[in-house]
Assembly symmetry: none
DNA sequence: TATGAATGAGCATTCATTCAT
DNA sequence: CATGAATGAATGCTCATTCAT
């Protein structure tokens, strides 16, 4: 391993360290009330250092989204590529994958939502924006592949698979969203787990031939 | 109509005017990048005037949520109370209602999400917080009533109706969410309409006995 | 006087108040070490208020230059228009005018110099930049008119009058500059007055036929 | 040449390298907007290295001034010592010398001006401050010697020679200054060369008996 | 010597909120 | 009621400087 390589890896580690700290602070204070100083303290770094690794606060936030999308993408790719699984088993695996992703980073949607604002997009490097778009599309596409497989095997109804993927994506987003806003909407504990369970049951039944 | 009443009504109108302006500004700039001055300009009022009608920025935002929840509640109540509709027709009516709500105010979710932050909740009057919670629960409860009716009539599977309501709520939230973040996630136009259509089809099929 | 007019005048007064404070602070601390808070304190205003009247720190500084150029311009116009003065008397009047300007704002050159940097220019509104350019050119042009008059009357040598104006402008700038940097260069008190006196004597002799 | 000497020379080279880079960066961005990192990049060194050769940013800037003053001093001494030149020829030689200096480092005045700020002076080593003062005074003194020679030989008017020197110094400074701020003030290309030419013509005529 | 990552004090700027008119 | 100028605390960000390697 060359020096250059080692440094690159070191840099990646720092970014992770900062993102983890940011995640923690965002989840406690919310994106707006969290200050860069808060994050720096949490990461046990100085405020200036944050700017060595992230162009600005918005970019730090967007990078969190990218990170979770990367994780999601890997999970989905893996499920999709499992040749030995029957379509219905893949749906089950999907459910597990999504639950996994949520556990990895429950903040996913707050961050994703933040990206909507055109004012925020202005602050992001075009590289980052295109990475996020690419990964989002890839994720949905991979899910679509899973459904397509089931349709081919005559197990699932013949809806456009991409549409199915989008519905599942929406369902997932919505469930997470409602879980996030527990204070207002949800009532029972383990809301997420139960609801994902129930939702997939309905969904799986709904798409079966 | 007494003078007092007229004044009250006048006051309500002003609040509406401000909320509409706020909605427009929020949808363009996002909640955080929108300034009270932006909103005042959009409403053709002065910044100071906003504070005659709303305690602070967070409360203005929360009032937007309350407003949409009220609208949603009315729609749902109406669907639920229609004695002549069969369960499946009610589901169809639900779909229409939700589409309606979305058209009325697509920003609902951004606002709802914003309410999550405990830091924001601190700024709200307890009256407002309890109103929002009550309405949210009512909405879900009313949907649950619809499902319960279907279960009693032996048309829907015997899932806990409240769970069904939550799934539908999540589905709706997720769809709207994905539509909002079109720039990042969605690909096709009319994403929302198509996806609601597809989703309800799957959902309806999934809960039928 | 209408309300609008009164407000406009009030606004002008505030700008003056701030500029005067800025001048004082700049002359004590230098442009860079002077903070906006320093200036606000000196003006007995809050930092935020400064930004109601000046886009940013660079623009506040440039406005000081504009102010002195306006003053200079008026002085020069007056000298140039005096029909009864002989060319040599006008040169004498020029000297007085310049001395006057310097007394009005000895900081003129520090500010002018600041304008050189392209990075600074980026921060200025194009209106301001064009105003400054126009006034600078006008000043030199007016001086040229004075020399042209002398050349026509066969009193001054037939150099291009514009070139003469530029030399005088440079002489003035240089004298002020050296006076400013007293700490390093000048030795005697009243350096400025003496040197302007001497310089104009040489200059007047040099351009006489 | 001993090792110590070689090292000393090497050190001098590095200082030159850094000063040249600094000059380039200052002339593009202005002293304040130029960062030490900018200079380090231009010099193809790391920021830390700059501090091995200069105590701080202000001292780096002052060293630039010192460097140009040394160059000027040598030029002036040479002109002054030429026994065979007539006073008028010396004035001509002075003109050439000044043009030379300007070409060597047009930034001289920006740097000199920067030294004015008492806040900056605090940051400089007393050694450096006294060097700069000494050289400045020497330069003016040497010019005065040239004029004194002319006065003795009954060629120049009997003004105090030191005053003449100061006027010339001011003229030079002013011309350079105006050339630097071309964007704002000057109009014609080759402003500097032409104006120095014209100015010396007037000046020479003005001091002749 | 040279590096360049890390620092953290410092500052320009913003903006929710107030209040005299 | 309405205004909008003024506020000033809050904060994102910068950059001269340091120091472990």
């Amino acid at each position: 391993m060359g020096i250059r390589e080692r440094k690159e890896r070191e840099k990646g580690r720092r970014r992770q360290q900062i993102m983890i700290a940011a995640k923690r602070v965002f989840s406690i204070k919310g994106f707006n009330k969290a200050t860069m100083e808060d994050i720096a303290n949490e990461a046990e770094l100085s405020p200036g250092t944050l700017y060595l690794y992230f162009k600005n606060k918005d970019e730090l936030c967007a990078s969190l989204s990218l990170r979770i999308l990367q994780y999601l993408n890997i999970k989905l790719k893996y499920v999709s590529s499992e040749k030995d699984l029957e379509p219905e088993q893949k749906i089950e695996a999907l459910k597990e994958a999504m639950y996994d992703v949520y556990e990895f980073d429950p903040l996913i949607l707050i961050n994703m939502l933040h990206l909507q604002s055109s004012e925020v997009l202005k602050n992001l490097s075009s590289q980052l924006v295109s990475d996020i778009k690419k990964l989002s599309n890839n994720s949905i596409k991979t899910m679509a592949d899973i459904f397509e497989d089931g349709i081919k095997k005559n197990v699932f109804i013949d809806k456009k698979p991409f549409a199915l993927a989008e519905i599942l994506w929406a369902l997932f987003s919505g469930i997470v969203l409602c879980d996030e806003s527990k204070g207002i909407i949800a009532n029972n504990k383990n809301y997420l787990k139960l609801t994902i369970e129930n939702a997939f049951e309905i969904f799986a039944k709904g798409i079966k031939k």
